[in-house]
């Protein structure tokens, strides 16, 4: 081997010995590390040492044909052990620092440890405490479905540069139209279509006022929500309450178990025995993820949302892309509304969306403007809502104010936008007037 003969010689290959990956800055590392340690301490001291005498039994029923055996773990040792895991994560973050890329994993593991430890503690109040994990997850999916659909609507709108604060109003209008159309037409399928169209109509209003009349989009969203709340409330009292038989008795969408798949343990009752709206949601999640990141339309949508001028320069019709996306998004939020009325209980009631649209908006941001993230965030929020109802009936050693459990998703969102859980960046042109 001889040294290169001339300085201009080009090496045959570049050998990468080590890739330098960024870790968080010192200040943030310490803050997040301390946060993890605090969570670990709560887990060990609160859930572990504060536990009762009983063991914790996790059942996996949920009505599937094939069942998994129950899992019984000691009520004290489990939270202590899981807390130790979180403490170790915190210590590592303080001393060395995780790679930024690992943030979702670390957050996920921490959350899982915390929740399982909490459940073990909650069951340890007396001997024989048990919960059905599948049932808990079932109600998670049940509560998360409207959030997922609403969040997808938010993602689609914002990716094309239109802030959709009106998800709530689109949901409410969808729920109303679903019940009304299903009753008038005598067909639940027509109700679903009606809900989608009604949501799309509100989306169209949003698009016209935001894109043609260039109204500030956040204000517009708030105003549309108020209009939807007033209109559906008026119609409910003026039409539906006066003649329930004729206007508001739609019936409920029945679950359609998928043969074979619905017999599988855990996933069967969880995912494959739902009604048509839930199946539509699965399709939409996958479709949106593919469309946004693998198709020409998705590329155009993202271009329009990040830099509309550049997009226009290469010939993309900015406003048309935005119109289509916002109207389609409205339809998705309308579908979420259909789930609330005819998908769950049947008749419409006043203000039945009850803030779910705003939680979906939080899920959009928590999920960092991606369909995958929005689904994960919605499931997380749904899980906490399910947990909140469950904790009320468990023999916990000490009373847990369920209000505090209910606060957790909102506090988590605040922490997320404040940048404690990784950097959150919106599409650059989201909400801006064009041209």
């Amino acid at each position: 081997m001889s040294a290169p003969t001339s300085p201009a010689a080009v090496p045959d290959a570049v050998v990468v010995h080590a890739r330098v990956e960024p870790t968080a800055g010192l200040r943030r590392r310490v803050v997040t590390g301390l946060l993890l340690v605090a969570v670990g301490l709560v887990t060990v001291l609160g859930w572990g040492l504060g536990s009762g005498p009983g063991d914790a039994t996790f059942r996996f029923g949920g009505g599937a044909a094939i069942r998994l055996p129950d899992l019984t773990v000691p009520g004290t040792a489990t939270p202590v052990l899981l807390g130790a895991v979180v403490l170790a994560l915190g210590a590592f973050q303080l001393v060395r620092g995780f790679r930024l890329r690992r943030t979702p994993v670390v957050v996920g593991v921490t959350l899982a440890c915390f929740v399982v430890a909490f459940l073990a503690w909650a069951m340890s109040g007396r001997a024989g405490g048990s919960i059905d994990v599948v049932q808990l997850l079932q109600s998670t999916v049940f509560l998360a479905t409207p959030l997922v659909l609403g969040a997808l609507a938010g993602v689609l709108g914002e990716r094309s540069g239109v802030v959709n604060v009106a998800i709530e109003g689109q949901m409410l209008t969808g729920a109303f139209a679903g019940a009304l159309v299903a009753t008038l037409a005598g067909s639940l399928g027509a109700g679903v279509v009606g809900a989608v169209l009604a949501g799309a109509a509100v989306g169209w209003l949003l698009a016209v006022f935001a894109l043609r009349y260039q109204v500030n989009q956040v204000i517009l969203g708030v105003v549309l929500n108020a209009a939807a709340l007033g209109f559906t409330g008026w119609a409910y009292k003026a039409l539906m309450q006066a003649d329930t038989e004729r206007f508001n008795s739609p019936g409920v969408l029945q679950p359609l178990p998928i043969p074979l798949l619905s017999d599988l343990p855990v996933v069967g009752p969880l995912l494959f025995s739902a009604n048509v709206v839930v199946y539509l949601m699965y399709v939409l999640v996958v479709a949106l993820q593919v469309v946004l990141f693998r198709t020409r339309w998705g590329l155009r949508t993202r271009a329009v949302g990040e830099h509309p001028k550049a997009a226009a320069t290469v010939g993309i019709p900015v406003l048309r892309v935005r119109y289509v996306n916002v109207v389609v998004a409205g339809g998705m939020a309308g579908l979420a509304g259909a789930y609330l009325s005819i998908g769950t209980i049947g008749p419409f009631t006043e203000n039945m969306s009850a803030g779910k649209g705003f939680i979906a908006l939080a899920a959009v941001i928590f999920g960092r403007w991606s369909p995958k993230g929005a689904v994960a965030a919605s499931l997380l929020f749904g899980f906490f809502a399910a947990l909140q109802t469950l904790v009320g009936i468990l023999p916990t050693p000490a009373a847990v104010p369920s209000s505090f459990l209910a606060m957790l998703p909102y506090l988590a969102t605040i922490l997320a936008v404040a940048g404690f859980v990784g950097r959150v960046r919106a599409p650059a042109a989201s909400g801006e007037v064009y041209p």
Binding site: V163, V165, F209, R212, Y213, Q214, V215, N216, Q217, V218, I219, L220, V222, V223, L224, N225, A226, A227, L229, G230, F231, G233, W234, A235, Y236, K237, A238, L239, A242, G355, F358, I359, L361, A362, I365, P401, S403, F404, A406, M407, Y410, L411, T413, I414, V417, A418, G419, R425, A426, A428, A429, S430, G431, E432, V433
Partner: protein
């Protein structure tokens, strides 16, 4: 030039109200059973449909006016009842509308008035029933407690924005829910909940902390109205006569320029949100100390969101907010009379309110519909940053 602009603004406002009333009339007609019956034989006697619709609309709007302003059927003190109800409804709307408008002027969108009202109401109620102070002082301390509660809740938003860049729209929405859950928790807590602990209602505020009624015991209008008007004057003074107000407006007009000119933009945002929260907290305190006398889960009602429409209709000017608060307060008061007299649901007013603001927010639309000359009114909310990023 200034006069021309004013003309445009006023015209757009008037036409927005007219347009909303027209849409509302259509809704009233559709919701009226007699009109719907007449419409079944529309093609044989079309005129019947229109006369029935006309009667329904006339009766409903007449009842709305009677409930808001003056009812010829009443006499004596009761004749002032509608006006009193209008003012009672307008008081929290004015205070909270000022809270939203103040933040708007600094380029911040305060959707969190709802939570700030709740915090103000909670603290004011706690001071009102738990502390034992002489009459005048007790009221003052309770009101200040309400201001403090709202200030902290709003200031937190400003601090998060200034420190971490967290967008205030998201943090305020989230803090609204946190406040609601906090309230639910408190209403189940011994020491806050009223014995015998069956209902979700707080202990009753002591008489020494209640806001005195202005027009005798039979009418509900209370001193909070004057507090609200004073607050409006205060905000007007702040923005037009003080250095701090100048700085705040500068941040609202162009934060980059303000920063270049040496202003501490972050600190001013905290101040603005804290002040806005204080005003909303004062609204909560005034509701508890003046109207309800205790806190329930619905203490804030929908005031926090209605206040956004009040601020927009008032174009973020203190006197505009007072006028808009009186208008919407009157509509709220009248809607109760309208529902009981003609069966038209109170929710109609919510639609009217949203439509007025929608039309005002899109002056281009109003001009197109009523064929007004272009120019003049600026779109409301144009001082806000549009996206999440700035």
């Amino acid at each position: 030039m200034r006069r021309l602009r004013w003309g445009g603004t006023w015209l757009v406002t008037v036409f927005a109200v007219v347009g909303a009333l027209v849409v509302g009339a259509v809704l009233i007609a559709v919701g009226d059973a007699r009109t719907r019956d007449a419409a079944t034989y529309f093609f044989s006697y079309p005129w019947d449909t229109f006369t029935e619709a006309g009667y329904a609309v006339r009766d409903a709007y007449a009842a709305l006016l009677q409930g808001a302003l003056f009812n010829p059927a009443l006499s004596g003190t009761a004749a002032l009842g509608p006006i009193s109800e209008t003012l009672v409804n307008a008081t929290p709307l004015i205070l909270t509308g000022l809270a939203v408008a103040l933040a708007f002027r600094v380029g911040l969108f305060n959707i969190g008035a709802q939570g700030q009202i709740i915090l103000g109401a909670v603290v004011a109620a706690y001071v009102g029933f738990a502390w034992d102070l002489p009459a005048g002082l007790h009221l003052l301390v309770a009101l200040l407690g309400g201001v403090l509660g709202g200030t902290l809740w709003g200031g937190l938003v400003g601090w998060l924005k200034a420190r971490t860049g967290a967008h205030e729209v998201i943090t305020t929405i989230m803090l609204n829910y946190v406040a609601v859950n906090l309230l639910t928790f408190l209403l189940g807590l011994q020491g806050f909940q009223r014995p015998p602990y069956g209902q979700a209602i707080s202990e009753a505020v002591a008489p020494s902390a209640r806001l005195p009624l202005l027009l005798g015991p039979s009418l509900r209008v209370h001193l909070g109205l004057l507090v609200a008007l004073a607050a409006a004057v205060g905000v007007w003074w702040l923005f037009t006569r003080s250095t701090l107000g100048f700085r705040l407006r500068a941040v609202g007009a162009n934060p980059d320029a303000a920063r270049t000119a040496g202003m501490a933009v972050g600190r001013l945002q905290v101040v603005a949100m804290a002040a806005a929260g204080g005003l909303a907290g004062l609204a909560g305190a005034s509701q508890v100390l003046g109207v309800t006398g205790s806190v329930t889960g619905s203490v804030a009602g929908t005031v926090g969101f209605d206040a956004i429409t009040v601020a927009l209709l008032g174009r973020n000017n203190p006197y505009g907010v007072v006028a808009a608060g009186l208008l919407f307060g009157g509509m709220r008061a009248g809607s109760v009379q309208m529902q009981s007299a003609t069966g038209v649901p109170v929710d109609l007013v919510g639609v009217l309110q949203a439509l007025v603001v929608l039309f005002i927010a899109a002056p281009a639309l109003v001009r197109a519909v009523f064929r007004l000359k272009p120019g003049g009114a600026r779109a409301v909310g144009s001082e806000l940053s549009a996206g999440w990023t700035r």
